[in-house]
Amino acid sequence: MDIMFFPVVLIVTGGIVSRLLQKRPAAAMVTGAGTLCGGTLAAIIMQILCYCHDGGFAVRDLFAFPVLILGLAGAIHSIGYLAGHGSERSGTYWFFFNLTAAAMLAVTAVDSASNPLSFLLAWEIMGAASFALVIFDRHNQSACRAGWIYMIACHAGAGLLILLFCFDLTPLWVFIIALLGFGLKIGFPLLHIWLPEAHPAAPAPVSALMSGAMIELGFYGLLSFGILRDGNIALYGWVLSILGMATMLPGIIFALAQNNLKRLLAYSSIENMGILSCALGLGFLGMSHHIPGMMICGFAGAAVHLLNHALFKGGLFLGAGSVYKAAGTLDMDDMGGLLKRMPWTGTGFILHAAGLCGLPPFAGFAGEFLIYCAAFAGLGNRELPLTVISAAVLVILAVTGGFAAAAFAKVIGAVFCGEPRSAQAEDSVEVSPGMILAVWMLFFLSCALLAALPCGIRYLVGLMTPEYIGYGESISGMVAAVALFSLAGLLLIFAIMLLRRGLNKRCGERKSATWDCGYALPDPRMEYTATSFSRSMVDFFGSLLKPARKISAPQGIFPGKSELDEEIADAGMRNFWQPVFKCGTFLASRIHMLQSGSLHFYLLVLVITLIGMLLGAVLQGD
């Protein structure tokens, strides 16, 4: 029995009690949120104590960290998020939220190698409980549809995992099945379709927990079960890095084209999972080709990027939840000017977005820097295929980073800058302090992570065999320099902001409209919307995105009402799954013809089968 099970029990118990107190929402909220916060905090403290006591730090602790942090932040954010809508069902919410968080913690806490059944159980509870949260807004048709897609994806994955645990397979098959089963959680291409549906439908804290921690648990499963010691390490490296590239680039292109804030973030999650997969792939390639620099940088980059993605994407989803709470919509075309109305949330969101894009001086830069280092280490190799893949990763990673920056520029421009484009956005006000705290908490944690990074790398180096220590030392020195530079940059930004405030106080501040290019009567309708901002890039990738536009253009001297409606369906859904399901339905209707209701026909089928079996037996005997 692992010591981490005590927080799990505490959180689950709190959830059940909260459900029993359904009639009294305030009490339910206090119980649910209290036990979740208490449980996650206790677990964090326990982990730190364990680390200080015996200095052991395993892969699973790396994956438990996002669960704990996002559980805590999600609990704090939920208190404000539920107020107003959904508060009368808060007992149910907390029950499932606590259950999800506890199951995720249990996934990391069970000893998966010796006890796959417990792992599977926790994995299934995690999926089922989060399904209930996705359809929490149960009267919403699209939420229910998203919930079903999510449910099917969860169970298809679980079915593959049962296959994995039940049969004694060769390492290659283990890898393939694990790749499919856990890939459904991670969101590899074609297996990703539930992400852009379920994330926008779920309440924001749940999206944060799912996107920041749950899909990363897919990698935990893949590393624990799919990758065997006696398997072909080079193959793992090739597959993961190629899959990663195939995931991240389409992911970010689709993100760029979205107008729904949370859908955009969901596609961005797919992109980040691709980066993570690439980093792991480079690590494995370095391992199989004995290139220490590539291996260390790849694995360390994956670890850092994992934590970064958890913190930043969690923060962004929580921020999106705050925006939804204030503006009442997720459509970015209807927002605008929110930075003036909700400065704290807006600033937090912008910082998180910059971090997620991997811009210096935030923690995101350090993670991507390590992955670039891994690719460069592979580039200087004599083997041609390795050089080619490293170069490809470098290029794709750079392109993806550029698109990510464009996507978040679109978000920030459309949501926070300019003037509001709808009455709801006009009336939005700053959300409650708890929700702001949850967003900023994650940002400060990412800064702390940056500060702790050199120590972490040094710890990693300490575990290595002597032949690698030299490389480890040089990398840890490099990371320390990056961290130092980044922290100095953060401090500099902070100092400039303080200076600006001081100057403003001394000289006085004058508020006026943004410069309006000389228009006499500027109107919010004139400004760039989210759709028009990304228009040129959507057109550029038109063959991939296939935007469905409904245009009624202005006509005549006195034009009437004109409209533009753009919808971008998921390519995997449109080109692969829909034809597959259509084919399945057609086959099923054909088979249904067998049930004609005619007794004679049934008898005929029976006799044909018997004669066929007889013939088969006889001909086989020849």
Binding site: S589, H592, Q595, S596, G597, S598, L599, H600, L603, L604, V607, I611, L614, L615, V618, L619, G621, D622
Partner: protein
């Protein structure tokens, strides 16, 4: 004796063809009765010169398949008030063709079967005949509409199995034979009762109209 047995088998095949083309129910019942009588006699003629003769099997077969079951069917026919199979699923001339094809098929199949060691020297002819009878019985069940004709088809099917057993297994376990007979008796009783019930309930005994028990396509 062998020539006599071959003659019997030939009659069996002819009765199959006759069953396929006869529309009158009374005729069909007579054919079944003929098959029953032949089945009663054949174990004895087969066993002459080889040893034991199961007189009890012969008597039971003769009385049950040759007399009692046809009488029961005749009574049911009278009660249901049906004399002819007017609209079969497959027409009579086509039926004859199909049964001929089935007979050819059974000869093809049995040429490739490996028979157990104790088979009689007649097996070369008896096995395809019994296959043909079994298939004709099944064909009758499928191709005819009246529940009564289907019962007849089932009986013919059973006759084929019995013929197979009688021809191939010379050492016939008595108890197995009796068990099969009991099965057939019970089945015919159940079917007779259900035919009677159907005719009383719906004033027809067409099995193809009993098709409301399926899921409607959505």
């Amino acid at each position: 004796m062998n020539q006599m047995n071959e003659l019997f088998l030939g009659i069996f095949l002819c009765s199959c063809l006759m069953l396929a083309v006869s529309s009158r129910l009374l005729h069909c019942i007579r054919i079944v009765a003929l098959q029953g009588v032949l089945l009663g006699i054949m174990p004895v003629t087969l066993a002459i010169g080889h040893g034991d003769i199961h007189w009890s099997v012969m008597i039971i077969n003769l009385s049950l398949k040759g007399i009692i079951l046809p009488c029961l069917l005749y009574r049911t026919m009278l009660k249901a008030g049906v004399k002819r199979e007017l609209e079969p699923v497959i027409g009579y001339s086509l039926s004859a063709g199909v049964v001929l094809a089935l007979i050819l098929f059974s000869f093809f199949i049995s040429g490739r079967l490996s028979l157990p060691a104790g088979a009689s020297d007649l097996a070369g002819l008896a096995v395809p005949c019994s296959f043909a009878v079994v298939m004709t019985g099944l064909f009758t069940v499928i191709a005819r509409k009246k529940a009564l004709t289907q019962v007849i088809g089932f009986l013919v099917f059973e006759n084929g199995i019995t013929l197979f057993g009688a021809a191939v297994m010379r050492e016939h376990p008595l108890i197995v034979e009796l068990g099969i007979l009991l099965d057939v008796l019970v089945l015919v009783f159940i079917m007779g009762i259900s035919v009677f019930q159907i005719s009383r309930e719906f004033s027809h005994i067409d099995a193809d109209r009993l098709n409301s028990l399926k899921e409607e396509a959505r």
